[in-house]
Subunit: 194 residues, 2 copies
DNA sequence: AAGATAGATGAGCGATCATTCAAGAACAAC
DNA sequence: GTTGTTCTTGAATGATCGCTCATCTATCTT
C-alpha cells in the first residue's frame, strides 16, 4: 500500500561516504549531501534516523566493507606474504600521489578529526587498525615460514610497527606528496624486516 | 595619545593555540576564543587582521616555536643520538596515554584536517616534518659514528621512516591509547636500527 | 580642561548550520 | 474510485557561524 522509495539508500550512503572521505565530518553539510544526491532533507532524515551522525557512522561501515577490502587486496588472503604487504604500501603511495587519492583514508582522517569526541566512531577506527594488524601479522608469519624475512622476527610486534608506519605514511603524504620521500619511507620499512 | 591595549596579544594567541590544538580548526569558533580569553570579537579582529584563519596560522607558528622545541628536547642538540630519539618517542607515548595529551600534535592534526585545502597551513606542517627529519638524521649519524647502531645504516632514509613512524604513532594513539600497543610500535622501530 | 588618537564594546549583519514538519503525491488494497 | 499507507517536498525552525561597525572609553598631548 505504501508509496515506494524513489532513491536507493545505498546510493545516498555512497555519496555521503565520498563527501565525508573528501572533506571530513564537520566540513560536510547536509546541504552538500542534498546537492550531491538530489534527495531532499526530509527524505534523508526519514531514511537515516539520527541524521548526519548516523550517515557518518554508516559511511564508516560502508568504507570498511567496500573500500578497505579493495585497498588490502590479496593482503587479506590466507597465503599473503611480504609481496602482498609491499603491494599494499605501494598502493598507498600511488594513491597519495594521485590527484584523487590525496584525501587519504577515511578512517585515518576520522581517527584525527573525531575519535577523541565520538567513541562509536573511534571503535570503528580501532576495528580497522586491528584488522590491519591481524593480516600484517599473518603475512609476516607466512614470510618467516618461507624464509623471506629474518628467522627470529617478532611478527606481532613488527605488524604493529607496520600498521603505525602506514598511518604515518598517510599523514606525511597528505602534507607533502613527494614520491621520493614516500618511497624512502616504504623502502626503509621493508629493509627493517631483513 | 592612544588608549593602551588591555590584553596581551600573545596571551590571546596562546589561548587560541590551545583551543585549535584540542578541538581543531573547524570545531573552534570565534565565540569559543572570546569566552576563553575574555577579549571581545571586535578587539580580536583588530588585533589579528584576517580573523580566524590568521589566528590559526599564527597558532601554528607559535606551536612550532614554543611547544615543539619542548617536545623535541635534547633531540635538537648537536650531540643528540639514539638515546635522544628514544626519549622523544617515549615522550610521545607518555603524552598519548595521559588525559591532557590525547589531543596529539597540532601539526599532525592540521596535516589531516586542513593541509589539503590550505597550502599555507600545509607549508608549516611540511616545515615541521623537515625539521623532524633533519634532527633525526643528525642523531642517527652521531649514532653510527659512536657504534650505537649498525654500521651501514642509511641515516637519511631511516630518519624519514622514523618521522613517519611517529606520525603514525599519534594516529594510532588517538584512536587506541593502549600502552602495550604504543610501546610495541616504539620498541620495534628501534629494533630495526640494529 | 579640551582635543586627538586608538582600543574596547557588543549588538547585529547575512550566511549557513542541522533539523523538523505540514502538506501534497504515489502507490496497493479493496 | 476510494481509502490507507508511506514517501517526497521544501519552507521554516532556532542556533550558530565568522565578521563588522557605530559608539563609547581611556589615555596622551597641549
Amino acid at each position: 500500500m505504501p508509496r515506494p522509495r524513489e532513491f536507493e539508500p545505498d546510493t545516498v550512503l555512497n555519496a555521503a561516504m565520498l563527501r565525508f572521505w573528501e572533506r571530513g565530518y564537520r566540513a560536510t553539510s547536509i546541504e552538500d549531501l542534498v546537492k550531491a544526491t538530489g534527495v531532499k532533507p526530509g527524505s534523508l532524515y526519514s531514511a537515516f534516523p539520527g541524521g548526519k551522525r548516523t550517515l557518518f557512522l554508516k559511511s564508516l561501515e560502508r568504507y570498511s566493507r567496500l573500500v578497505v577490502p579493495q585497498k588490502l587486496g590479496e593482503l587479506e588472503a590466507s597465503g599473503a606474504s611480504v609481496a602482498e604487504i609491499r603491494g599494499y604500501f605501494d598502493g598507498l603511495v600511488r594513491d597519495l600521489l594521485s590527484p584523487e587519492g590525496r584525501q587519504g583514508c577515511l578512517l585515518v582522517n576520522t581517527a584525527i578529526e573525531k575519535a577523541a569526541e565520538d567513541d562509536e566512531a573511534a571503535a570503528v577506527v580501532r576495528g580497522h587498525l586491528a584488522r590491519l594488524e591481524r593480516c600484517m601479522t599473518h603475512a609476516l608469519e607466512n614470510a618467516v615460514r618461507r624464509g623471506q624475512v629474518r628467522a627470529g622476527l617478532d611478527c606481532a610486534g613488527s605488524a604493529r610497527l607496520l600498521v603505525a608506519t602506514c598511518q604515518g605514511l598517510m599523514v606525511v603524504g597528505k602534507a607533502n606528496p613527494d614520491e621520493a620521500l614516500l618511497r624512502a619511507i616504504v623502502d626503509n620499512a621493508f629493509a627493517a624486516l631483513g
